[in-house]
């Protein structure tokens, strides 16, 4: 009996983003045109590929948001790191070096975010807003204000996001999708079951309590922002692979999409709540909406409106549910 109660509470929380996704898919299934074009293996391959950048960013952002912070520099860091990737390829580095160094650049930017936030007790919003401008400027400077197209493309990097192989079937999936899935599993375990993960939740629930419990709050926060930066760096590699060029003006506003995915996935902006699977599903759901709108040939503004409504509805469910319960109880 007790076990069942324990299960149901966690179950409901974990299942909410999936329900949202299910509703979206159900609505798509009602429409004949979408039914025939959307629900195809090849199309899902496309959607998954389109999810990768936001999903990888969302993994880092989930850590930050669960710990009670926010990172607005995500989009700019993705652009910066896509340029860094291009530059590294231009210099003739191999796959491993390109990947490692780009992730390192992202991580260092995150380290700067976390370091400044903790050292000067500044609001994460302000510090990362500053970093957003700095990273954007750096990427333009580094790219000489134009796109960077390596003369000799590095096939292994380009393949990460290339879904053109057998476009009509679900498999084979591009490497980037597998990488994202693997990272999602890893980060789920990290956030849910490791001591570090518990500390992230503890800091987000109540920083003072975390300090009282002997948690090194500052060190953990720096680690959280650095790790998030590393994820944005990886997303930058994916961004490069998608366009096969480094573009300093790409991913403007991406941070908001990433935050939206995390929030749709059940995270609370006041910290202490959120999950990696939820955030990834949130990213996937937004990609589904974009893809479906594309198939229906809805204009861009329709997509924007729909995604806006979805964000409000998804988060509003949390508030509406108790209200409905109260309403029905009163009715009885």
């Amino acid at each position: 009996m007790k076990l069942a109660q324990l299960g149901s509470r966690d179950f409901l929380k974990a299942v909410r983003p999936f329900v949202g996704l299910f509703v979206v898919l159900l609505l798509f299934a009602v429409d004949a045109e979408l039914r025939s074009l959307f629900f195809k293996g090849g199309n899902f391959k496309t959607i998954l590929t389109q999810t990768v950048i936001v999903a990888i960013g969302a993994m880092g952002m989930t850590l930050v948001i669960v710990s009670g912070g926010i990172d607005l520099s995500a989009g700019s860091l993705v652009a910066l790191c896509s340029v860094v990737t291009a530059k590294l390829i231009e210099h003739g580095h191999g796959f491993a070096a390109v990947l490692a160094l780009t992730v390192l650049v992202g991580g260092l930017a995150g380290l700067a975010n976390g370091g400044i936030i903790t050292a000067f007790r500044m609001m994460p919003f302000i510090v990362t807003l500053g970093m957003m401008g700095i990273a954007r400027g750096l990427s333009k400077w580094l790219a000489n204000n134009q796109t960077v197209n390596p003369d000799e493309p590095l096939e292994s990097v380009n393949r990460l996001m290339d879904n053109s192989q057998s476009p009509l079937t679900f498999f084979p999936l591009p490497d980037g999708v597998w990488l994202a899935l693997g990272l999602a599993v890893l980060m789920t375990v990290v956030l849910r079951s490791t001591v570090f993960g518990r500390y992230v939740f503890a800091i987000g629930s109540n920083e003072d309590t975390a300090r009282l419990c002997g948690i090194r709050v500052n060190a953990n926060k720096i680690a959280i922002y650095a790790l998030a930066g590393a994820f944005f760096g990886l997303a930058g590699v994916m961004q490069f692979s998608r366009l096969t060029q480094g573009d300093p003006s790409v991913a403007i506003g991406l941070e908001l999409q990433i935050i939206a995915a995390v929030v749709i996935g059940g995270a609370s902006l006041s910290g202490g709540a959120g999950s990696i699977p939820g955030s990834v599903i949130g990213a996937f759901m937004m990609a589904c909406l974009a893809n479906g709108s594309g198939i229906k040939d809805w204009p861009n503004y329709m997509q924007e409106i729909i995604i806006g409504v979805v964000i409000i509805v998804a988060v509003g469910m949390d508030k509406v549910e108790p209200m409905l319960q109260r309403f029905f109880r009163r009715g009885k």
């Binding site: 993960g197 518990r198 503890a202 003072d208």
Partner: protein, 509 residues
């Protein structure tokens, strides 16, 4: 019937067989209560007895399912707290409900600003605020100061002043002294007496029976949503009230098994913080409980925080198990077996949104943690053990701590130190705002811990519990700790004199 005749017989407020249920939970199951005009009526009961639900019914936040309310002979059916206030029933909540950045004046008239066509009438507002402060005997309170910069006691007075705007006939006070010191409490009692003389009826809710006895003329006891007894305060022994509250006899609130102080485990020599404390010397031995008494702001909490490494030390030496360990962090202190129970379990002590299991085991997420991965089963088992040991009422170890009652929350906060197996426990107001039953359990636990050879520092503003539980007591005044003497060497009056800085005057007299 002419109104004049009946008003002499009618009580100011009559509550008759009020019932209220939420879903399947019966919160009130037939509560009756009568309060005469100008009477101070103590409403007593353990947490969960239905006091707050009754208050919410009276203040219009809940509608009763059955029963009736009568105010001065007229049916009283408040639809919301503002309506109740306009009818003359004002409420002062346990938690302060002030806007910290607004001024005293703005807070007093918040929501009832005098206005003409939407324009604020500032002069009128000032006049009303001044009058409210004069009524509670605080005309010197600065009107333009933001409430944030006042002490808790002053904030409480602002809250009372706010309740007095609009000439209430009944004033309900929920645990008004839970964060006040003895001196501030005395001031508050003066205010209550003054209002009572003016004919305002006061319903006074408190866990502190001694206070109820001091301030109230009559009482009603609630238990399990029913009113189980009422009478005149003066003719009733406290023990029989406690018996009514818990439904059983409380033979021993402060148990004390024989114990002997052992080796010194914590030594403080001239410890000073950046602002407070200014000088603390203390030797704490294994197997003893040392109490720290003092007014709010005397530096007791600051002493514990500095010793625990939460705040910086400006001066002095800290020795733990005879090793110098002055500079420190909470993490190092915990590693050395020192634990701190925060005075503020909601803001600092607990992760309200997280599970009982996480809260109990946060400082020691083991047993069973390997390579940084927490063993959830072992964690839940450990949590279950402490929940049983501490008699925590909760559905399971996964329940968020924020859903528990104050007493159970405090047991979780204390349980964390037990799970950590701390040898030196720094307890800051461990019984604040919790019910009598939980208090008794905590006293029992403290006695048990001391008997096991653990060392406890017990900070409290409630003298009877310090006298009941501690082996030795020290008094802090303006950041300085007095000589720490065995309980038998103190008289209650001496302790209070020391707390207000009159120790020498007392001896001379």
């Amino acid at each position: 019937m002419p109104v004049d005749d009946s008003s002499a017989l009618e009580p100011r407020l009559r509550v008759e067989r009020v019932a209220k249920r939420f879903g399947t939970t019966v919160a009130l199951d037939g509560v009756s209560l009568e309060v005469a005009s100008g009477e101070v009526h103590a409403l007593i009961g353990e947490n969960g007895a239905g006091k707050s639900t009754l208050m919410k019914v009276l203040s219009g936040a809940h509608r009763p399912d059955a029963g009736s309310l009568t105010l001065d002979g007229q049916p009283f059916e408040p639809s919301d707290p503002l309506h109740a206030h306009n009818c003359g029933v004002a409420m002062i909540y346990q938690e302060l409900n002030l806007a910290p950045d607004l001024s005293v004046e703005e807070n007093i008239l918040l929501g009832r600003e005098p206005a003409a066509l939407g324009w604020l009438r500032r002069g009128e507002r000032r006049r009303l605020a001044k009058r409210a402060l004069e009524e509670i005997g605080q005309p010197q309170m600065p009107l333009d100061t933001p409430v944030r910069s006042l002490t808790i006691a002053q904030q409480q007075l602002v809250e009372i002043a706010r309740a007095l705007v609009g000439e209430p006939r009944v004033l309900i006070m929920d645990e008004p002294t839970s964060s006040l010191t003895q001196v501030d409490t005395e001031n508050l009692f003066g205010v209550i007496e003054r209002m009572s003389r003016r004919g305002v009826s006061v319903i006074y809710i408190s866990h502190f029976l001694e206070e109820c006895q001091r301030v109230a003329s009559r009482f009603t006891v609630l238990r399990d949503g029913r009113s189980v007894g009422s009478g005149a305060m003066s003719g009733t022994a406290l023990d029989s009230i406690i018996q009514l509250m818990v439904g059983r006899t409380v033979d021993e609130i402060y148990p004390r098994t024989s114990r002997a102080a052992g080796e010194p485990v914590l030594e403080l020599c001239g410890v000073a913080g950046l602002a407070k404390p200014s000088r603390v010397d203390l030797t704490l031995r294994a197997g003893e409980i040392v109490g720290l008494f003092g007014l709010v702001g005397a530096g007791r909490t600051e002493t514990l925080r500095a010793v625990f490494g939460l705040d910086r030390l400006a001066n002095g030496i800290v020795k733990i198990f005879s090793h110098e360990a002055t500079r420190s962090t909470p993490a190092k202190r915990l590693a050395n077996g020192v634990g701190l129970l925060s005075e503020d379990r909601k803001e600092e002590g607990l992760l309200l949104g997280r599970s009982i299991a996480d809260n109990l085991t946060m400082t020691r997420l083991g047993p069973g943690t390997h390579l940084g991965i927490v063993n959830g089963t072992a964690q839940a088992a450990a949590a279950g053990k402490w929940m049983a040991k501490l008699d925590v009422k909760a559905s399971d170890a996964a329940q968020p701590v924020g859903e528990l009652s104050g007493g159970n929350q405090q047991k979780i906060a204390l349980g964390r130190l037990l799970h950590h197996e701390a040898d030196i426990l720094l307890l800051d107001e461990p019984t604040r705002g919790i019910d009598v039953g939980s208090k008794a359990q905590i006293y029992r636990l403290m006695n048990e811990l001391a008997a096991q050879g653990k060392a406890l520092v017990f900070v409290s503003s409630y003298l009877p519990e310090l006298l009941g539980v501690c082996d030795r007591i020290g008094v802090m005044f303006r950041g300085e700790l007095s000589e720490v003497r065995p309980v038998a060497d103190w008289s209650e009056a001496e302790i209070i004199r020391a707390a207000v800085g009159q120790a020498d005057a007392g001896e001379a007299a």
